[in-house]
């Protein structure tokens, strides 16, 4: 892993130790398997789409950072 950037690495990596991925879990969103993160208040943020269908990555409602609801 090499970061090739003119930005200072101390700035880019600040808070790296505090990253917590424990609230992430795998669910299905609108029929698409995805990793989501609980952000409190019952809301969930999409982290990554796990689908193998490339067309799922062009869906306008699914992108990293989108607020989503898991399928029940």
């Amino acid at each position: 892993m090499i970061l090739y950037t003119p930005m200072q690495l101390e700035l880019v990596l600040a808070g790296f130790e505090k990253l917590d991925r424990s609230s992430e879990r795998e669910v299905t969103v609108n029929g698409v398997p995805a990793i989501v993160k609980d952000i409190g208040g019952g809301k969930m943020e999409l982290v990554q789409i796990l689908s193998t269908n490339p067309m799922d990555f062009l869906r306008s409602e699914l992108y990293p950072g989108a607020l989503v609801k898991a399928d029940s």
Binding site: I2, T5, M7, Q8, L9, I49, M55, D56, L58
Partner: protein
Amino acid sequence: MSYYQSFDEVPGVFPYQPPSRPDPETYPERTDNPNHDPGDRTRVTGKSKNTIEAVKEMGTTQVPEIKSNIHCLTIVGQIEGHLVLPPQNKTTKYEHLIPQLVALEQSTEIEGVLIVLNTVGGDVEAGLAIAEIIASLSKPTTSLVLGGGHSIGVPIAVSTNYSFIAETASMTIHPIRLTGLVIGVPQTYEYLDKMQDRVVRFITSHSRVTEERFRDLMFRTGELARDIGTVLIGQDAVDCNLVDEVGGMSQAINKLKQLIDERKAGDGGLKH
């Protein structure tokens, strides 16, 4: 008889027929012809409920849906690679971008891809992966560097069929190095040198800049305060043959349309 007569001519009898509109047509003419145009219809215009909600929640209105044959990919902030970066970084995630590019290649509606860059670089492997996949798309591509396209943003900018840079946009070219932890063994330097060669090779084979010129820009002293290297602004990047043209959004889209038309005409003449 005047309407304004002040007394009853015949008591108890209303003296005149009040003006009235004709009775409404109860049975309008019908036709069995399904193509029959009933003439002027009342159009009700206004905002749907959803639009008002969008304004309230996000401060934006929905753009009316027009299917475009061009897809715009924006590459902003740090290009995030094998390591998840802390949340103060704005990142472009390669695990999302790469399948998107696969979908764009497959899509029948999309005929061209516009890459808009404003990036400070990032992971070497993620950046090269994105650049390679853009370079290997069969559909026409153009790129536009706005603001900045530094470090690993450079190979992404040159990976398209034709590249543009805004007049005020800048590109920083500098050597790859590890800041922070440096292990003092010869392999470390060799490894970094190899990684650097990958980037240089990609850039020189996808743009018209020569390797000699590019390495000269990369190792120039006296330009950057804390580093060796060069900052190219707008025209500078064109002068050293790194980027094809100085331009903006309209030029980038027009060029893309031209490339799409050429491809449709069967020229197959997509050149770098």
